[in-house]
Symmetry: C2
Subunit: 634 residues, 2 copies
């Protein structure tokens, strides 16, 4: 089937495009750069790979139909920030869309020397206090919202490897808090409760004994999974809910009531074949106000320092009248779940079943049997995983096994019989095996409806061979033209292993150019304030840095001294960074304008060490260095 | 002045381009993708920013002059690999040119979890044995050559922070050797002696006491710098040469005799102002066969286990008849040096002087006073740093202070008066403050002459704001059309801090798709060969991995056991990777097809830990996990 918005009569020679009658003209919704003149409308089903950026060599002045201009000429800015997770690289990456250029890397769960992350006392203590691990496994970067729209405050991301959640400060594009979530292993999903990001949820995938201290080792039935509600301001775990089965992905509804989580192991199994044995598993709907009420009423057990509320099926909180978790039977080993922009539906994909399940959020509150809230179950293709939205009534779902993205009509799926393929509008091949996909502002109440990125796990031979470890392939697809259909625009190789992303309009984030010293505790060391304080084998060196010098041309300490260096970059000019790198001492402090960092180390090897600036800061950058002189102990 | 190749008479409506009469037609040298029809030849001096990839909206079928097609449509491959250093990120990055897409990251001097680098026993021992540092500062990636052309064997890169040199195996695109260079601090330059990469040279920038063990701390005159000659096969430091002054960049000549190194501190100073006080410093020319002869004759002192030859000006090796190091006076604080493709000249840039010095390599061997080998000294602009070549007689030099790349005619510079600006052909603005630049195969005897990358240290506001730490900007410039002039094609944001790059034709590197188990010592564990061997508190777990399982569904050990896990990915299919991630144990082994890795750890916390695969390998990837059960000690 096709819905009316995909089949308007249209003059093919017309340069303006109208997506239909019931929505604002599409032309107002496409990227601000010139959208090229579309000629004859192309068939919608095929991939129009290979057409982007090619210069027109036709003589008629009309480019081929379906071509899209995704170029961002030198010096021009992208329309969107995309925040991609970095998987087991432990980082977040910031891309520009539509250029797909990587603008920045933000280390989160591991040390990173170019940014000095984990090299100064503050960030190394943060990493130590959250477990002391050297890496993490980031999956789901979500950006904070207010009133269901991006507010530019924070991004959050999980660590599946070590059960943690991190917060990234979008004023400075740096990780500023990490919480080690008690009672949870394999924290997989990460997402916000809307409209105002009241909580960030960590979703536990791996069922383990609770507490996991050596008890119940071989009794899988006693293992548990939890969701954890984290306060985004304090990064404190406010409460957890313990459930039957396990969970992986989640999404919050937009009116503040529901949090949804899929799970593939309702079997409580410990092997792959047993985990996949039943034909349905659960989509769990957490009734947040009911949980808060239970916590308020003391209906919890404190485990690992956190109130844990019983959300199993046998739980009789509220006398069973208003279960705090509703278990919805959906097919099979559901993976992705996301709430539609209008907050009407939660859509969970089958993974091992070709269908997605459409749950009516309003009905969910009213029905006795939560399965009665399933109002649609379209058949989409093999291996449906994750779903994004364009704000025009379409859903876009990745088909992992088919290596496709399928576009389908949500209302048509509600109207159609279960397992009907009629709601499918079109499919496009992607290369290859997509996991997540993300459309511009898909997680908000008002998606932009222009760009979509398919995060494909395999690239095979799409790029120059770089050895046995291939890049993944994040493909940019234009979805702004329902008439021409989805258009593959760019292949983007990406380092292992982005799982998910959020795309945010450029004007909704306002990063700082220089640091505000008021934001941090370190002592600002201004020009003329450099100082060395010695006391009992402790040496505190305070020095400024600027083009092209550090506050001291030499610093002399004794072998065995514990040395603290507090260093400020006193520059006021944006983009003039310095660092303090100390050879053979494993130290590199990154110092952006007006930033102060502090590092403590033991000077244990006599000798001369040239402390230097590792950011190329001026023509005399190489000469910007000072001697650390470590005198031998007597 | 302009040389004849830049001013041929040409019909501006002609679509074929001829660069002149003395070289093969330029059209044969441009990228294999369609080069768009150039209309009227544009003026050469301006930056033609903003024209790339834009679809033609003119009705005459002719695009604007100077447009270049640098797009690589989805699924098509780039023409070149570019190996960029990652500065104090400690890594190497592989880009495709002309797409400027990052194809891969290769961790070198620091652990990196996505690749499991530094997480298995072999690579973590390599990092430990080369100093145990967690980071490095990579500057100069150079690719091995045979007969003055890339041979696809290795790349090499320095660590300025800790005085090391690393080798990257281009069969697997992974670091396979690191040597800690004795007697050297601030190893800056890294480059190969041609034609056949007999040595890789590490160039010491920071003058320090030798040995640096607490002696001579405050006697800078006694400090020394060295160059180190490293055997590329064994990565053994064969010999070093100790010099007056310091050094930073270097380049080897193509007939195997000379190695050139610049230096900015002939003053032997310790402060920036003193280092910059004299109007000339030295370009040093190391006579490699003469040094080898001195080593052979025992004319060295062994320091730090390495033969160190005296290359100071007072050295009387060979009775002064044939000095092993020639000190050439060039202006001022010279930074970059590179040898022309025809091996006729070494060109050193002034950094604090607008001129470059052109040294005739043949004359250098003949003259008594090495300054007599300076045959040209063109005035290029403010802050000349590094020079690349197109193989058509032009040099391209970055002007750090002017934020430009200047194209100049080498022979014209030899013919002109010193400090003449006449050899300058044109300048193009770059954004901003370029350090290195690199042209395709510029380091070989036969550069490709099409693409050039300017590695600009600052991007200021060229990209969406990502906070106080901005990306750098690696700009792609088309240099294949002498008539149209240099054309700025792409801005590429890059993470801190690429210093230098090598660009290699795609067909000269042939990476493997899967591992050859013969290449490594680890024991291959095939299907059916999983095994657990226990002895005296040591547990050796051997297991295969494949879609979607590990060799064991559970592994039980005792608290306190030392556990070694040897894990093989038995897949034969390219691009199907697995990993072994162990929560709360800080372990992640990357396992490409047919790869075996081994990790040893102590199981010190009782509990259940779900070992899982962190590479999304199949629809049942999430279910690919096994329990590590750590039983409490009695």
């Amino acid at each position: 089937m096709t819905d009316e918005s995909t089949s308007p009569t249209q003059d093919s020679s017309e340069s303006e495009i109208d997506a239909g009658t019931e929505r604002e003209p599409l032309f107002d919704r496409i990227p601000r750069r010139d959208f090229m003149k579309a000629g004859a409308a192309a068939g919608a089903m095929g991939s129009l790979a290979g057409c982007t950026g090619l210069l027109n060599d036709q003589d008629d002045g009309l480019a081929a139909a379906g071509d899209v201009d995704a170029s961002v000429p030198p010096g021009e800015h992208d329309d969107y920030y995309a925040f991609l997770s970095g998987g087991h690289s432990g980082e977040i990456r910031v891309y520009g869309v539509p250029s797909m250029r990587q603008l920045m890397r933000i280390p989160v769960f591991g040390r990173e020397s170019a940014r000095g992350y984990g090299y100064d006392d503050r960030t190394s203590e943060m990493l130590d206090e959250s477990g002391g691990y050297s890496w993490g496994d980031t999956h789901h970067p979500r950006v904070s919202q207010t009133d269901n729209d991006y507010d530019g405050r924070w991004a959050f991301v999980n660590d599946k490897a070590n059960g943690r959640m991190a917060r990234i400060n979008l004023k400075y594009f740096e990780t500023d808090a990490i919480v080690d979530i008690p009672n949870q292993q394999g924290t997989h999903g990460a997402c916000c409760l809307l409209p105002d990001t009241k909580y960030v949820f960590g979703v536990g995938e791996f069922r383990v004994p609770m507490p996991n201290d050596g008890q119940d080792l071989t009794d899988p039935d006693s293992y548990t999974s939890t969701i954890a509600a984290i306060d985004p301001e304090t990064m404190n775990v406010e409460w957890e809910v313990l459930v039957d089965g396990n969970m992986d992905n989640g999404d919050g509804s937009k009116e503040g009531r529901w949090f949804f989580a899929t799970g593939y192991n309702s079997e409580h199994a410990t092997t792959e074949s047993e985990m996949s044995s039943t034909d349905t598993d659960w989509l769990k709907a957490f009734d947040v106000p009911a949980i808060e009420e239970a916590v308020e009423n003391g209906q919890y057990e404190e485990i690992g320092g956190v109130p844990v509320v019983d959300g199993t099926r046998d739980s009789d909180l509220n006398g069973g009248d208003r279960p705090i978790v509703r278990y919805i039977d959906v097919a099979k080993s559901p993976h992705g779940v996301s709430v539609t922009p209008d907050n009407q539906y939660a859509i969970a994909s089958g993974k091992l079943d070709p269908t997605a399940s459409v749950i009516d959020i309003e009905q969910l509150a009213e029905v006795d049997d939560p399965n009665d809230a399933i109002v649609g179950r379209p058949s989409l293709g093999m291996g449906p995983l994750h779903t994004a939205y364009d704000g025009r009534g379409h859903a876009y779902t990745t088909l992992f096994i088919d290596s496709q993205v399928v576009k389908w009509d949500i209302e048509a799926a509600v109207e159609a019989e279960a397992q009907s393929e009629d709601p499918v509008v079109e499919k496009i091949d992607v290369h290859y095996n997509p996991g997540h996909l993300i459309a511009a502002e898909s997680y908000t109440a008002d998606p932009q409806g222009d760009w979509l990125i398919s995060l494909n796990k395999l690239s095979k031979d799409r790029f120059l061979n770089v050895g046995p470890m291939k890049p993944e392939n994040d493909q940019l697809i234009y979805i702004g033209d329902d008439e021409a259909g989805m258009q593959l625009v760019k292949d983007t190789p990406s380092y292992a292993e982005p799982h998910d992303a959020s795309i945010v309009s450029a004007d909704k984030i306002e990063p700082a150019d220089i640091y505000d010293p008021e934001d941090y505790d370190e002592e600002f060391v201004d020009h003329g304030e450099s100082d060395i304080v010695r006391e009992d084998g402790q040496v505190h060196v305070k020095m400024y840095s600027t083009r092209n010098e550090f506050g001291f041309q030499e610093v002399t300490v004794q072998e065995g001294d514990e040395v603290t260096m507090t260093v400020t970059n006193i520059e006021q000019t944006p983009d003039i960074l310095h660092s303090l790198a100390i050879p053979e001492h494993d130290i590199n402090l990154k110092l952006a304008p007006q930033e102060t960092r502090e590092v403590t180390f033991t000077a244990d090897e006599p000798g001369v060490y040239w402390m230097y600036c590792a950011f190329f800061c001026s023509a005399l950058h190489l000469e910007m260095r000072s001697r650390l002189i470590v005198e031998p102990a007597e």
